[in-house]
Amino acid sequence: MKALDITVSPAPHCHSGARITGVSYNFILALIPAMAMGAYYYGFDAIRVIAASIASAMIAEALIQSVLRRPITIADGSAAVSGLLLALILPASVPLYLVVVANFIGIIVAKQCFGGLGANPLNPALVGWAVIRITKAWAGYLDFDLALINYETGFILQYPLAVLKAEGPAGIAHFGLMDLFLGKQAGGIGSSAILCLLVGGIYLVLRGTIRWEIPASFLLGVVVIAGIFWLRNSSNYASPIFHILAGNVMIGAFFLSTDNATSPVNRWGMVAFGFCCGAMTVVLRAWSVYPDGVIFACLLMSLFVPLLDKMKKKQLLPPAVSPVTPQAISESAEVRSAS
């Protein structure tokens, strides 16, 4: 395989022991609380969507890899993670064929066509979601207010961000910030479980699976830009705390934007990436026609990653975490096993 043009600090290197499989299973482990929360509130429907999504992502990966005569790598769990992430940002009532189409497009078009894991410029789960969202006839299934109308969960089943978009800050007064924090809000299967995601995200940071720079600067970006809006005109824009606790910000900061292949490799690149994601999120929430902007913000900023990688070329990173992409890890593992 042709060598990738990646930014690596000078030798000698110290292998962190991270494998793609390990990264993937850490991700899945960290998402278990959020999954459990979704299953608790939405019951069998949520489990159905999660199962279908993981299965279709893995089938898509196996299928396209066998067609392209590449080694089949569904056992490394990366396809399962992207299927799981997609399921967690969808509402529980979504039809299964939609999940399957989103995963097939995400895995085949956005991941394998670009060369597979590590070479994909965009996160496959997010591409899958975006395709559904911009398909006019299907976008209604992603409207949380409509999608969750038949559920009985014991809290207000109005999507807070849609209310904010329609009525302004006056409409969101009845959403208790504590309820939002505990995950008692309408939203995706897992993306509304803010506390669970926070716990999972901190676990990932402590394990060194993801680096703290991206989530921290993501949240900072949301707070700063939402704060500017709020301080200038608090009757038109919601408070920064609300912006952090509502919608996809938490899952975006810890799980969607931190995908190794679609985020920068150096520290200041990561900070800029995270901050811009957060800033873009608030801007999209305030001015676009979509209630939430996290996913489009992550997709947009992923396109800038090659540029951000150039920000600072050579830099020694702490050896606790491998600074290179999973692709390079697997390559170095191959080299090691070959020698």
Partner: protein, 198 residues
């Protein structure tokens, strides 16, 4: 090269959008439905065949230094002809193709065939070449348009073909759907011709 192979090479060996990867702008823009794809293709066949014939019959008259300018005038005249005719007789197609009819002038297939083939070959061969390449272009556009229309609208030439509860995958008739669909077709054709060669 026999006249038959001059005609048939446009169907596969030099199939414009897929094998030569020429003329992609209209290929992406007007294939929202099979009908517009076919309409565009027919317009291109007419312009291509006529300009090839004219360029080939004038090939000994036109001085080399002004040949591109002369070809452009000839091509542009035929395009205006097509535009007026479609406006007068096929208004619905004229509306859906819009700006892309005048843009046939700058479609690189047409100038490419005038320069590469018609300026060096006889009238009959040039006519066949124009017809063949144009037919290949039309077929490609119609196929691409049909795929996008069936998935994106659930119809084929305006007639319902999918089951009644089908929720159309409108992504396919939007711009990104065009790129993805074209890319997949290109990949399939490349792998097909690779297996043929080996």
């Amino acid at each position: 090269m026999s006249l038959l192979s001059v005609f048939t090479k446009g169907m596969w060996k030099e199939l414009p959008p897929f094998r030569l990867v020429l003329g992609l702008c209209p290929t992406l823009a007007v294939t929202k439905s099979a009908e517009t794809g076919l309409g565009m293709g027919l317009a291109v066949i007419f312009v291509l065949a006529c300009s090839n014939v004219l360029v080939s019959s004038l090939r000994n008259v036109i001085p080399r230094k002004v040949r591109i300018a002369s070809y452009m005038v000839i091509i542009a005249s035929f395009v205006v002809l097509v535009e007026l005719a479609s406006q007068a007789y096929f208004y619905s197609i004229y509306e859906s193709l819009g700006i892309f009819i005048p843009l046939i002038v700058v479609n690189c297939i047409i100038l490419g065939r005038a320069e590469a083939f018609a300026s060096r070959n006889g009238v009959i061969a040039s006519a066949l070449d124009g017809l063949g390449i144009g037919l290949g272009f039309t077929l490609s556009l119609t196929v691409l348009g049909a795929i996008r229309e069936i998935l994106g609208e659930g119809t084929f030439f305006g007639a319902q073909v999918m089951w009644s509860s089908f929720r159309p995958f409108t992504f396919m008739v939007e711009a990104p759907g065009a790129f993805i669909c074209l890319g997949i077709l290109l990949a399939v054709m490349n792998s097909f011709s690779k297996t043929q060669q080996s």
